[in-house]
């Protein structure tokens, strides 16, 4: 069963289509990474999944029920870490945790104490005075405290320095990754997604442009480097050709059929053609900057 599903989910703000016909399925227990540049529509998609926004068309469902209109009981099974700050600024961390505890019957006191110690949360500090790092940690504690089945994380590491980011990711992996929960994590940082996600979706301009396991995505944009000259007609006919680049060291064909492409070139006498596995970051840029027509 899919824990999170969308079907042609669309959200338009005025004249801006923030999310355009997104269809995805996240199986139970999977860590689903949403990768995209600023303004790609990741946060809007997560807010649609959280039920904060009403879809213009299409449907989003969490744990088998539509995300909108919001049903209070769903928050017993759902945790959400937003990118923006909206916890009551006047509360202290302790007050905020106490308030949330009173709201949620399945509050795990031991876990919250352990996380608070590990995250070094200053319980007496006012939320308005918290740094970005402490604020995100508090959000994570709030999102995990009731052991939800689905966790939505909207760029939890944005605005953190590299060391804090690495530390937070390690904590997230410890607390979430090993416990078989369904996680939807958005980020513009490829490294974060690659470290955590089982399935990666790349968003651009509000649409999903690619979805798959990280290795499968890398395979979808393999580079064939040709050291010796190749006829233009042959290069253009490479199976699965996505993009053709020419450089001082020869041509590079980006293809989604690397095996077929190699066989094709060798059949035409091009022996000096090698497949170079791209990094996920290169694949991401391929999709985002030079989407195939």
């Amino acid at each position: 069963m899919n824990a999170v599903e969308t079907d042609r989910l669309t959200r338009i703000f005025g004249r801006v289509c923030a999310v355009h016909s997104v269809t995805l399925q996240v199986p139970e227990g999977a860590v689903f990474g949403l990768l995209g540049a600023n303004g790609a529509g990741k946060s809007t998609l997560l807010r649609l999944l959280a039920g904060h926004l009403k879809p213009t068309s299409g449907i989003a469902s969490i744990l088998g029920r539509p995300a909108y209109p919001p049903v209070p009981a769903r928050w017993l099974r759902l945790g959400y870490v937003s990118q923006s700050r909206y916890l009551p600024a006047w509360m202290t961390i302790g007050q905020c945790l106490d308030f949330a505890r009173a709201m949620r019957p399945r509050w795990d006191v031991g876990k919250v104490e352990r996380l608070s110690r590990r995250f070094e949360l200053p319980l007496d500090a006012r939320i308005r005075d918290l740094s970005r790092g402490h604020y995100v940690r508090l959000q994570i504690v709030l999102a995990l405290a009731h052991n939800p089945e689905v966790i939505l994380l909207d760029e939890p590491t944005s605005g953190l320095d590299p060391a804090a980011r690495r530390e937070l990711l390690s904590m997230l992996i410890d607390e979430i990754g090993l416990r078989g929960r369904t996680v939807v994590l958005s980020s513009q940082l490829v490294e974060d997604i690659e470290r955590m996600a089982d399935v990666v979706a790349i968003m651009d301009g509000g649409s999903l442009v690619a979805t798959g396991a990280p290795d499968a995505l890398k395979g979808s944009r393999s580079r064939i480097e040709c050291a010796s000259p190749v006829a233009e007609a042959d290069l253009c006919a490479v199976p699965g050709l996505v993009e053709l680049r020419r450089g001082p060291d020869g041509a590079v064909a980006v293809t989604n059929e690397p095996d077929g492409a190699i066989q094709f070139l060798r059949a035409r006498g091009v022996e000096a053609a090698t497949v170079v596995a791209p990094s996920l970051e290169e694949v991401f840029f391929d999709y985002v900057n030079r989407r195939p027509q």
Binding site: A50, H52, L53, K54, P69, P70, P72, A73, R74, W75, L76, Y80, S82, S84, Y86, L87, P88, A89, W90, M91, D98, F99, A100, A102, M103, R104
Partner: protein, 280 residues
């Protein structure tokens, strides 16, 4: 859960509740102190006796009239600020992420705010009458034994009028809360609230007699004369009669029922709007 919601509401709203209580009650306290210590201010009361107390004690009933008109601005402020700050700073999202229905949350906010409005109105009404009477007693020409009956009648009239004052204040409170829920900006909510207050006062002045004197009774006038040369700063042409006093605040049933209905409609609409409101 409800205790936690009430705790949050109290923490967020206590300064505004205090402001509302002060708006309604502080002027009474200030005027009372001023009259107690100023010979000029005390002048109208100085000559009063048990027999003439009805001439000036009804001035205290100005308070419910003010609550039903001028102080509606304070009720409107309370209504707008009960909801608007949570929308502006987006902390409503935090509450929406708790397993509590928005209808219940909004209902608790409305009930808690409405309770504050009602208590403040009734307290101010009792304080105004009691304060004025205490000043008269302090002049030593008015005695408890000789005038307590009049005080009780005055208090009853005040409480009677407090029913209307609190209903009107609650209409403005819930209506302003509705404006805050519907308007995309706080200043639009404020304008909506002011429009509601103006409309309420106009309807009130046209359709509700605050002091419905009997048709055959002697006309009564009221004048104010401020200035150092005039110690009689307020003059009433004649004292009220007890039967006239009994009619103070005793309006027909339909305006009160209509007001009650309107308040309920506003409150239900606020909960419905918030239940369906998209949190952007």
């Amino acid at each position: 859960m409800i205790r936690a919601l009430l705790w949050k509401e109290w923490h967020e709203m206590r300064a505004r509740y205090l402001l509302y209580w002060l708006a309604l009650n502080a002027p009474i306290v200030v005027v009372s102190i001023w009259m107690a210590f100023s010979t000029t201010a005390r002048a109208p009361f100085a000559g009063l006796s048990d027999a003439t107390i009805l001439k000036y004690l009804p001035v205290a009933l100005l308070e419910p009239f003010l609550i039903s008109t001028v102080y509606l601005l304070a009720a409107g402020y309370l209504g707008v600020t009960t909801f608007r700050p949570e929308i502006e700073d987006r902390s409503l999202l935090f509450v929406s992420e708790q397993p509590v229905s928005r209808r219940r949350y909004v209902a608790i906010k409305l009930l808690f705010g409405g309770l504050q409005v009602t208590l403040a109105v009734w307290f101010a009404t009792v304080l105004a009458v009691s304060g004025a009477y205490a000043l008269m007693l302090a002049s030593h020409r008015v005695t408890l034994a000789g005038s307590s009956g009049i005080f009780r009648a005055m208090l009853a009239a005040g409480l009677q009028s407090a029913v209307w004052s609190s209903l009107v204040s609650l209409i403005v409170f819930t209506g302003s809360a509705l404006a805050a829920a519907l308007a995309p900006r706080w200043w639009m909510a404020a304008l909506g609230s002011i429009a509601l207050i103006v409309g309420t006062v106009l309807i009130e002045l046209n359709y509700v007699d605050f002091i419905p004197l009997p048709a055959n009774s002697e006309p009564m006038s009221f004048s104010m004369n401020f200035g150092s040369n005039n110690p009689q700063w307020v003059t009433l042409s004649r004292p009220l009669h007890l039967d006239e006093l009994a009619s103070f605040g005793q309006w027909h049933a339909w305006p009160q029922l209509a007001a009650l209905l309107l308040m309920v409609v506003f409150a239900v609409l606020v909960t419905q709007v918030y239940a369906r409101k998209e949190l952007t």
